[in-house]
Symmetry: C2
Subunit: 505 residues, 2 copies
């Protein structure tokens, strides 16, 4: 039995934590509005409103009072397991948060804004040099941040840990070694195989409203609860959440490129299903939040790639899709459509990459970040370094910095250590889906009938319901009996592309 | 010269005030989203997020530190005039806020929620008795609140002051006396005059998209800056503001009743122009906010009634409107359209009332509130009292409580003292517009050409730019040379309806 004292303390801790969450969710609403509906002149006041909310939440979560509460609770042995997990995770967060002096946080916020503005300007001029100095300052701050956090072995580990707890250079190097060793032979066979039929039908005309309607059909069918969510348009698709009962996605529509909307809706839908599946009783608590960025990405990639780019998925949806777009798709067979969407071709821009070459885009960023934070590379001439890497790994050359080093927003936000979670997410996705196929008899048959209920239930009970209880690796082991194993992804890739490209076994 | 100490103190005060404003504006964004886009299941978490933001702002604005700062600043004589006004107004707010103990504020919040739920239920059942007890508790709390605030002469004064500084029973009684004396003869002549041509064309079919497009045309023409605002749909139209650079309106569309959208868009547009005209340099400060509810309402009513229901306005817009709705309006002449929109007829529901009988709706609420807060009337049998008043003043009888005492949401929110500002707003509007016509030569000619630039400029410089610097009465005196004068409204009403109904002079 829990004595009254622990109960009271826990209640107090829960109230403070949820209060901070209220503020952070409020900030998320403002962020959503900013991307989706805010009139342009609202930009300045919105900036200060977001800054105030961030500082209010930060103040609560780094207060002495909160720390004392957490330390007291951590010493109690009469909390139940979930309570212990929450306290343990909040204490971890607290100690991490406390390591950054307020003045440093402010400097970082200011530099984010400066770097972002410089990046925008540099993109406008297609000139890395315009961005270089502000990026350099950001790198210095992130190196300083790594020092403030403290680290073992490599300063980059301190930053990786922020996005993916437990991820280190020692864990990632072997993963990307496998990427470097095992993917090129497959890519080589694909290159040598006969070309996939034309995929140019994707760039025919697809009216906006029909694209929207089709994406809503897919989202509904996936199991996305539209009484607890909605889809809107935004320039860059994203998922955001204000509780597990209000989880929103956005999409974009290019009438002359159907692929633009299609994958983003399914991808964001996967993220959204995760957020809707988090335990609502743990609102605002660590157990009510996602396990990690990589696990989040595993959910979006599983739906996008393992499901959404599979032949069975389109066995169900393609006839419907043809009804939405009779003019553009009547002469395109299911086989052509399926192969076209799985065309593999090295390209310059990460967000447009196919499922395989994608990981070289991430690998390049990983290598560069490791060196930048390790201090063996600087912002000076980084566009050249970038281009050399692209030449080496993907065999392509950017016509300008815009499609090279300036393509991602992450670095101006100071998000060094974020990119690797994209590849980890894909690899976890393949491993989870492999397991789901074992656990759910007839899974592919159900997908073929547009029935995702069992798959969603499997994800809910295996992944979503646990919130942040387990680290990515713990969760993966629980679900699949082993930690991250690149083999699953390679097996998936080999099977899929052997069929698509008719490769010799 | 202001010494450094005052400057520093003022900066500190400004930072705290604007921080609280950031939080309050953030809450307004959440409130807007709740009415406009929030999925239904988001309701519960949104409620707690709003409560947390409210308490965070309240905490800042009632802190000892804030009070000390304000008192110190109030004693300084080296602030400039605007700074002095801000400090004076913030101190007033502070002292008012401090009078309510946190426990009382919590109780009031809880009771608001209880009363609101009971009201919803009562409306569903069309039965006042379901609401009575919760309303009664709310009345008790409001009487207690009046005691906590303190008052002279009448407890209702303490509540009036919350919505309209300086408004008292002693000020309002004579105003409503004039309503009671002067409006009935005019209404009588209208009743005896020949009927206005049919206004049934308003309930023909008006397609949604065209209604929307027309309302946007009107809003743009009025001068509403859509780079600093936007219009969306909601069940009940409203205006909200997150800074003078982000001011939003909502409207509703009933395809079978064109009047529903038309007046609400112009009305909310008037509110929005005021908010957009507030000095942006005073973001979050008293001088950056509206003078009062009555003055706010004067802006919406001026646009809705003095402008939007005038013949000249429609000289410009009616041909355009006919193009939007050729089928519904081709056989309706401008004269018929104009007379139809100004049809006077006593009715049961305030929000659907004509410009004249409207004030009896307000008067009834004013009389009832005065008695409820004064303690000479209770919630028991209030539906009967309500119906008696309607019989007496408007000669109409509600078929049920839904269209009687249950029609307004205000009382469940505890907003006793709010209603009178609606009438004050109309009367100020008439007085301001009368003055504008004197100050702007050719004003009516410009309206006839759909040109509102000079009128808006006049409102900007006479009303908007001053923010909360002056009370309603001070502002009215500054603009028109005298305080509120019901004569302006009567003159406006007589002139207008003499023409519309062809009354004998």
């Amino acid at each position: 039995m829990q004595n009254k004292n622990s109960k009271e303390l826990y209640t107090q801790y829960k109230e403070m934590t949820q209060k901070a969450a209220d503020i952070q969710f409020a900030a998320a609403v403002l962020g959503w509005d900013q991307e989706v509906y805010m009139p342009p002149k609202g930009f300045e006041s919105r900036g200060r409103q977001l800054a105030t909310l961030a500082s209010q939440a930060h103040e609560l979560l780094t207060s002495e009072q909160y720390g004392e509460l957490l330390h007291e609770l951590a010493a109690k042995d009469d909390l139940d397991d979930d309570e212990k997990s929450n306290v343990r995770l909040s204490l971890e967060d607290y100690e991490k948060n406390r390591k950054l002096p307020p003045a440093f946080v402010e400097e970082l916020t200011r530099q984010t804004s400066n770097s972002y503005n410089a990046w925008i300007q540099a993109r406008r001029e297609n000139k890395y040099s315009v961005y270089k100095n502000e990026l350099s300052k950001m790198i210095d701050l992130k190196r300083k941040q790594a020092d403030l956090y403290g680290y073992e072995a490599h300063p980059y580990n301190a930053l990786l840990d922020e996005y993916e707890k437990g991820a280190t250079v020692a864990m990632l190097d072997p993963v990307f070694e496998q990427v470097k060793e095992q993917l090129p032979p497959l890519l080589k066979s694909i290159e040598q195989a006969q070309q996939v039929d034309d995929s140019s039908f994707f760039t025919r005309h697809y009216p906006k409203q029909q694209q929207w309607d089709f994406s809503m059909t897919v989202l509904r069918r996936m199991g996305y609860d539209l009484d607890a969510g909605r889809q809107d348009y935004s320039e860059h698709p994203f998922t955001t959440s204000f509780s597990s009962e209000d989880v929103r996605v956005t999409t974009r529509v290019d009438e002359d490129n159907f692929a633009s909307m299609l994958w983003s809706s399914i991808h964001e839908g996967g993220h959204a299903l995760y957020e809707q599946g988090l335990p609502s009783g743990e609102y605002g608590m660590p157990l009510g939040t996602a396990a990690s960025l990589a696990i989040h990405e595993s959910q979006s990639r599983l739906w996008e790639n393992s499901v959404g780019r599979s032949l069975n998925f389109w066995e169900y949806f393609y006839p419907k899709l043809q009804q939405y777009f009779p003019q553009s798709l009547e002469d395109v067979s299911l086989d052509t459509f399926y192969k076209g969407m799985n065309k593999v071709e090295a390209s310059l821009v990460r967000t447009e990459a196919d499922e395989l070459s994608y990981h070289f885009h991430v690998l390049i960023r990983y290598e560069i970040e490791k060196k930048l934070i390790g201090g063996t590379l600087s912002a000076e001439g980084l566009n050249e370094v970038w281009n050399d890497y692209y030449k080496q790994y993907l065999g392509v050359s950017a016509p300008g910095d815009m499609q090279g080093v300036l393509q991602d927003v992450h670095w101006c936000h100071g998000s060094f250590g974020y990119f690797p979670t994209y590849s980890l997410g894909s690899f976890y996705a393949a491993q989870f889906f492999e397991q789901a196929a074992k656990d759910i008899p007839g899974l592919q048959g159900e997908i073929k009938q547009g029935d995702f209920k069992k798959l969603l239930h499997w994800l809910r009970t295996r992944v979503h319901v646990h919130g942040r209880h387990y680290t990515s690796e713990e969760l993966c082991e629980r679900i699949t009996g082993r930690g991250l194993d690149f083999t699953s992804f390679m097996n998936y890739a080999k099977a899929k592309y052997t069929a698509v490209y008719d490769l010799k076994g």
